[in-house]
């Protein structure tokens, strides 16, 4: 070998494969303002639609007068429920097995509900038209408090369900009841509580919040009357599912529907479901024969499309005096708003909330979830978390702190004592999951050592003494959180959406010059798929990542997939990518064997090509194999080099992590400062450490927002009082704390590359860390649990209630 021959390290580095902090290729266009978003789609003759919305939370719609609106210059049509009934689209099915009004049909059930759709030649005319639509309402008593939903005299919200004692998920107990979902062994759990030496019980609420992506929900629908084809550009996290749903409800042949999700400005669960705007824009295009654009504004997004959480979790733990947990009992009252439009796998009305046993070895547990209707917006989406997993993590992590407090134990010590041990994996939880892998003790101890946890506890003790002596008005809290996520929905044995198994897919096509294109059923909304997917392929087949173009979001070209949410892309599509790449590699090996005139078994893969075992100079690069695939394949072999893989995962993946938040709170104003935040994540094999770090930063920032103030709050009459970014807490870089990230690596044993999801872990683990920090700060004054969000005035209120402020 001469000096010019690259070393093995250089050849590996040239691929920019897995483990490389490869810069995000999509950022070249994003940072230059050259992204292509839905609102950038401008078609000749395109019309604009916008909604008349209800000012009332609950009212009968007596009349809708559209004559004046139709006189506004530029206004072409006003669509109402009556119009939609002519095409049988006044109501639409939800992903949760319920139905939802597309436009108000007889009554409205939440503030800002869609009442009429005004179609005009431009956005201004549409809004002028909205102001001329006269709607006559007869206000009805609003139901805002979910705890009153099943009172015997509670107002009837869903008249369409009158007499229906069974819903999509079993019996309904009350006219405002949606479902009851029960998991676990009740008798065994009750027995554990009867025998328990120590128990705790607390109603832990996770307030209503909203994913609020920077880009709101929007679409452009264009119906070609001649071809009978409908093209939809939309902000879709799951474009194929949207195509199937549109086909089923609009009765259009699926091959005549083209769904294109271009660049997406954040999703966070907000863009999984189907909204009235999509249906109305499609109908408007069919009616007018022109393309129709619908773009939500911020207030509409916050108040009408898919909130998250609103879970009220009465939680009990049974334990021994020594702090060994013996049982868990949880009842959830779930506020779903006016329609059950949760975006969960179809058989999971409360998502994967049964991960609520967390990282702990509970011998028995029992869970009941009651879903109820209220006069609030529908939704209940997984806002940067797998389905209801952040609720579950918050529930158990708060409860473990409450138990530690009751036992007089350190919260970290209590967790270490109850963790599932490394040798117990695969671990079968009391509520039915098989945890694939984990090493919780190592992660927790690394967190404690890196942050010098013991010294922080000592400092806290000193500060508490100083506070009691009147020397400071500041209190200090340490928020410990240890979470286990369940991501990668999911195995066909337990996950589907409307009957479609939750597999995902990849198609790779190599070109003669050693380059290629890869398409997936997922859809990046900022996760960096164009970068990381190419890295998996680079390592698997030895072609530089820069030579692989990744394309997602076009249902005409991409293989069918279930989309990107619930941290499923890497666990499911990531696996499909590796499997498709391995098919490419297998064919490449046959071609190389033919060209090198040896048997396939005599070859070994070596970074970027195949080498004859024991004869290092006999080597054929993947680049050359690509060329050969198009001109000199072995006799009988088809030319070309491409592969498709549809991956049905055998199990979920279970990322975990250990977080610590150090917070100081000024009791006189309630103002907090996050002094330090340490996040250790274990997501198995790390594809791009820089992107993981970015994901963790983003997820922690959203967790910080939610725990410390981000709330969709309703007043007693059902008005949203936090419907804009003035009042809905969206932290800027000024408010956002500094993040310290760390990791351990416990690969998933069943995933082809050992990777687990990571995008949502920081939200799941972060919220309890912040809330536990606040609660820990106040605990020495006698409180056991303070509800989120922990904004300034509520912190002050807590201090005042506890006697720390006069």
């Amino acid at each position: 070998m001469n000096d010019m021959t690259p070393t093995r390290e250089q050849r590996t580095a040239a691929l920019e494969g897995m483990g490389c902090k490869r810069k995000r290729v999509e950022d070249i266009r994003f940072t230059q303002g050259k992204g292509n978003y839905v609102d950038d789609v401008k078609l000749p003759g395109m019309l604009h639609g916008d909604f008349v919305r209800s000012p009332h939370a609950h009212a009968r719609v007596k009349a809708i007068k559209t004559e004046e609106a139709l006189k506004v210059p530029g206004v072409l049509a006003v669509i109402t429920a009556e119009t939609l009934k002519t095409v049988n689209l006044a109501w639409m099915p939800t992903l949760a097995g319920d139905v939802q009004m597309v436009l108000a049909d007889g009554k409205v059930l939440f503030q800002n509900q869609e009442v009429a759709f005004v179609v005009a030649t431009d956005r201004y005319a549409a809004d002028d038209g909205i102001n001329k639509v006269e709607v006559e309402y007869e206000p009805l008593p609003p139901l805002v408090d979910p705890f009153k939903a099943m009172d015997h005299n509670a107002p009837v919200l869903r008249e369409d369900l009158a007499g229906k004692t069974t819903g999509a998920h079993g019996p309904r107990k009350h006219h405002n009841h949606i479902f009851e979902w029960t998991v676990g062994d009740k008798d065994l759990t009750d027995a554990a509580f009867r025998r328990a030496e120590v128990t705790i019980k607390e109603m832990i609420s996770y307030h209503r919040t909203h994913p609020s992506p920077l880009e709101t929900c929007q679409c452009v629908c264009s119906f070609d009357k001649v071809k009978g084809e409908l093209t939809i550009w939309g902000t879709f996290q799951a474009p194929h599912v949207i195509r199937t749903v549109v086909s089923l409800i609009a009765k259009l042949p699926e091959q005549k529907i083209h769904v294109i999700a271009p660049d997406i400005g954040g999703g966070f669960g907000n863009k999984v479901g189907a909204y009235p705007g999509y249906i109305c824009a499609a109908v408007a295009s069919i009616v007018t024969g022109k393309p129709v654009k619908w773009v939500e504004d911020r207030i509409e997004n916050l108040t009408a499309t898919s909130f998250a959480r609103d879970y009220h979790m009465t939680t009990e733990i049974a334990a021994t005096k020594e702090g060994k947990v013996t049982g868990l009992r949880v009842h959830v009252l779930a506020d779903h708003g006016a329609f059950d439009a949760c975006a969960d796998p179809s058989k999971w009305p409360a998502g994967f909330f049964n991960i609520v046993t967390g990282s702990y070895d509970f011998p028995t547990a029992h869970l009941t979830v009651d879903g109820v209707y209220t006069n609030k917006a529908p939704g209940g989406v997984a806002y940067r978390c797998s389905f209801r997993v952040t609720e579950a993590a918050y529930c158990i992590e708060r409860a473990m702190d409450i138990l530690a407090q009751k036992l007089g134990m350190d919260p970290a010590e209590l967790r270490l004592k109850n963790f599932i041990k490394p040798e117990q994996f695969p671990y079968h939880s009391a509520l039915g999951w098989e945890y694939d892998s984990g090493d919780y003790h190592t992660a927790m101890r690394k967190m404690m050592e890196t942050t010098d946890y013991a010294a922080l506890r000592k400092e806290q003790a000193d500060k508490r003494a100083a506070f009691k002596r009147g020397e400071t008005r500041e209190i200090m809290g340490l928020g410990v959180s240890f979470f286990t996520e369940i991501v990668g929905a999911g195995p066909s044995k337990n996950c589907d959406i409307l009957g479609i198994a939750m597999f995902d897919s990849c198609e790779i096509r190599m070109h003669p010059t050693g380059a290629g294109i890869a398409r997936m059923g997922t859809k990046s909304q900022g996760q960096g798929h164009e970068t990381t997917w190419a890295q998996i392929i680079a390592t698997e087949i030895g072609i530089p990542a820069d030579n692989i173009m990744v394309e997602e979001g076009n249902t005409d070209t991409a293989p069918y997939g279930l989309g990107t949410y619930g941290s499923r892309s890497t666990p499911v599509a990531g696996a499909a990518i590796a499997m498709a790449a391995r098919k490419i590699k297998a064919k490449a090996q046959m071609i190389a064997a033919y060209k090198l005139e040896v048997h396939e078994d005599d070859l070994e893969f070596d970074i970027d090509g195949f080498r004859v075992k024991g004869l290092p100079e006999k080597f054929m690069s993947m680049k050359d194999i690509c060329w050969a695939a198009y001109n000199s394949v072995p006799p009988g072999m088809e030319p070309g080099l491409e592969a498709v893989s549809y991956y049905d995962p055998p199990n979920m993946t279970y990322p975990f992590g250990a977080y610590l938040c150090v917070m100081d709170i000024d009791v006189d104003t309630g103002v907090y400062k996050v002094r330090r935040f340490y996040a250790l994540d274990d997501c198995g094999t790390r594809i791009n450490p820089m992107i993981i770090e970015g994901q963790v930063h983003g997820g922690l920032t959203e967790a910080f927002a939610i725990a410390m103030g981000q709330e969709i709050r309703y007043d007693d009459t059902g008005n949203v009082v936090t419907g804009s970014f003035m009042d809905f807490f969206m932290p800027t870089m000024v408010e956002t704390p500094h993040w310290e990230t760390d990791f351990t690596v416990t690969p998933s044993p069943h995933h082809p590359i050992g990777a687990k999801g990571v995008g949502e872990s920081p939200n799941v683990g972060g919220v309890p860390a912040f809330s536990n920090a606040v609660n820990d700060a106040f605990s020495f004054l006698g409180s056991t649990h303070i509800q989120m969000p922990h904004d300034f005035w509520r912190n002050w209120k807590a201090a005042k209630t506890l006697g720390a402020v006069a």
Binding site: D50, R123, I299, T669, V721, M730, T732, F792, W793
Partner: protein
């Protein structure tokens, strides 16, 4: 979030602007930085049929010194206040407050005239104007007149401005050399209005407060001058008891609305805390 139709006018002179507003009547609104009016228009809470943009009127711009008075043109932006040497030297409290208004992008466009003339109780500058004893020069169809800042605010969004009148400039007497000042603003995040804020300008003599004025922001439908609180501070060395007394006196005149920033009780309580902290910080700065 789409405004209704309106016509746009851009006069080049003050006289032209005044005439336009007089001719167009109640349906016209002057446009300064637009950071209050335009959002209101997007929500269609304000629906003027004519906007008279004042950006073309050169006479409304600039900061000058006239003896012991600083004169600030109404169209001076918050950013220009922050970069003015005259303001830094003579009215540093204006820079402290301006830096707490919204964010840099808003401060490049938002004007001091718009901030003081809109009558929004959440705006920061009005309380400072009262504390500093500023006078507002107004120009309208009936000619020019001066109104003291302390007489200007009548209610939320109601001011002494008559129909067709424009605020043209603000005159502020320069506080004595060695004065102490502080603007304490509690807000939830960058860009938010104050949950509570207090402005203090004082002088010290022999370790005691000699003169003192205290203003309060967003704690009432108008900015407040907390005279009793200031009187409590005068003559004291701002010991703990005096600070508490000043805070109580200030709280007694507060009447904030409950909103997402907190209930009335909280906003008054932190209003008192802002007064105490502003007094302490101002005293620490005084010569």
């Amino acid at each position: 979030m789409i405004p209704g139709p309106f016509s746009y006018h851009r006069p080049a002179t003050l006289a032209g602007a005044v005439k336009l507003l007089a001719d167009l009547g109640d349906d016209a609104r002057p446009l300064a930085g637009g950071h209050s009016l335009v959002p209101m228009m997007k929500l269609r809470l304000a629906t003027p049929t004519h906007l008279v943009d004042l950006h073309g009127v050169a006479d409304l711009k600039g900061i000058s010194r006239d003896g012991d008075t600083i004169v600030i043109g109404a169209m001076t932006t918050q950013h220009e206040l922050l970069t003015s040497g005259d303001i830094r030297q003579s009215l540093p409290i204006l820079q402290e407050a301006a830096a707490l208004i919204a964010d840099p992008q808003v401060r490049y466009l938002g004007t001091i005239g718009g901030n003081v003339a809109n009558g929004d109780p959440g705006n920061d500058m009005p309380a400072l104007m009262i504390v500093l004893g500023a006078n507002f020069r107004l120009s309208g169809p009936g000619g020019e007149r001066e109104v003291a800042a302390s007489e200007f605010y009548q209610g939320a969004y109601f001011t002494a401005l008559e129909p067709g009148e424009i605020l043209t400039s603000i005159s502020i007497p320069v506080p004595p050399a060695g004065h102490g000042y502080a603007y304490e603003k509690l807000k939830r995040k960058v860009g938010d209005y104050a949950t509570a804020a207090a402005a203090v300008v004082l002088t010290m003599a022999g370790g005691k407060v000699a003169t003192c004025a205290i203003g309060l922001t967003n704690l009432h439908e108008t900015p407040l001058l907390a005279t009793d609180a200031a009187n409590a501070a005068i003559g004291s060395n701002l010991d703990a008891a005096t600070l508490k007394q000043a805070a109580s006196a200030a709280e007694a005149i507060m009447a904030p609305a409950a909103d997402a920033r907190g209930p009335v009780e909280y906003r008054k309580h932190v209003g008192g805390i802002m007064v105490m902290r502003a007094l302490q910080r101002a005293a620490g700065r005084a010569a």
